[in-house]
């Protein structure tokens, strides 16, 4: 389902504020994105910034996990090498 536009949200809010005042309040309160909203002559609404996908977040977590495993492996290997050297 697509997100409501600022105009649609304004109409739904049934506020007594003017559109400009309402928009400024919503942007100041972080409810609406604070990039400057424009009326385009061709009537097409501006695109919103792209959100990061969950898939990308998962893959970066996997990267961290691999890095952690390699680091622990290296530490264990280093410690065992040291204990071997001390035992000789």
């Amino acid at each position: 389902m697509s997100e409501l536009t600022a105009n649609q949200k304004y109409k739904e809010s049934k506020t007594e504020l003017s559109f400009k005042e309402w928009l400024k309040n919503e942007q100041d309160n972080g409810v609406l994105p604070d990039h400057e909203t424009m009326f385009n002559y061709d009537g097409i609404e501006d695109e919103l910034p792209k959100k990061k996908t969950t898939k990308k977040a998962k893959s970066s977590m996997l990267g961290l996990n691999i890095l952690g495993i390699v680091a622990i492996g290296t530490l264990v290997y280093g410690l065992s090498q040291m204990s071997n050297a001390n035992g000789e």
């Binding site: 559109f19 424009m38 061709d42 097409i44």
Partner: protein, 259 residues
């Protein structure tokens, strides 16, 4: 046929009479020969026999270059397929639709100055800024307009900030438009922020913009041309509805003019 006509920057209606033996698609263009990409009209009509073209010019250059040619033959000086029977300058007569407020007059003056020079004024990727003499109005002239959200190129020729009233214009679009087409767009943008009861209403901005545009005496054909030009690239039910509303508004205005 190319002819230079002295207009002395005065508001004028040019009457160009063309004759043909059989149906020919005849183009008429009026340019400022001293400025690149600066046309006061670009229009055509299918002419059979004799036809008078009336070109309203609320603003005009010192000297205008009138170019008339047959679409089938291009700008050929020895074209015998048509004849320019006469070119006359008449005083511009306008039936104003409204009395313009001080603020509107001030913006119109700024917009007309910008539109007469938009064919060659520098633009940039970040937007070259132009301000009215009173400092109240601002146009940022971009090479091309990009989405504020994604930075992708967007097709709109102009837009206005909902918060500040700052107008952004695409040089790529404006350089190919005539002066009246540029004016129709800027009057629409101005109306969104300064005239509309409902600022986000596109149709209200169209009609309010046209009221100012016709009150100044700009040609009806250029109003149609700019809307059709932009809407054909952005076909939507909203834009179809906008076109129907402005078409009936222009027809009503035409009827009032003929009363």
């Amino acid at each position: 046929m190319i002819k230079k006509i002295r207009l002395d920057n005065e508001p004028t209606t040019l009457k160009v009479v063309v004759g043909t033996h059989r149906e020919q698609k005849i183009w008429i263009k009026v340019a400022d020969p001293t400025k690149p990409n600066t046309f006061y009209i670009k229009r055509f009509a299918n002419v059979v026999g004799r036809k008078a073209f009336f070109i309203n010019m609320p603003i005009s250059p010192q000297v205008a270059k009138v170019i008339v040619y047959n679409a089938a033959n291009g700008e050929n000086r020895n074209d015998k397929s048509f004849k320019v029977l006469s070119i006359k300058t008449l005083p511009l007569q306008v039936k104003p639709l409204m009395s313009l407020s001080k603020k509107t007059i001030s913006f119109v003056r700024f917009a007309e100055e910008f539109c007469q020079d938009a064919g060659f004024l520098p633009s940039s990727k970040e937007g070259a800024t132009y301000k009215s003499n009173n400092g109240k109005f601002r146009i940022d002239y971009f090479d091309i307009i990009r989405s504020k959200g994604t930075n992708n190129i967007v097709g709109t020729p102009a837009r206005i900030s909902q918060l500040t009233g700052k107008i952004e214009v695409s040089a790529k679009a404006f350089r190919k438009y005539t002066i009246p087409m540029r004016m129709a767009i800027l009057m629409h943008e101005f109306s969104h922020f300064y005239v509309n009861r409902e600022p986000s209403d596109e149709s209200e901005a169209d009609i309010n913009g046209l009221k100012i545009y016709f009150t100044r005496g700009y040609p009806k054909i250029s109003a149609y041309n700019v809307f059709l030009n932009v809407f054909k690239r952005s076909p939507s039910m909203q834009n179809k509805d906008r076109y129907d509303k402005l078409d009936s508004f222009i027809r009503e205005y035409k009827e009032k003019e003929n009363e």
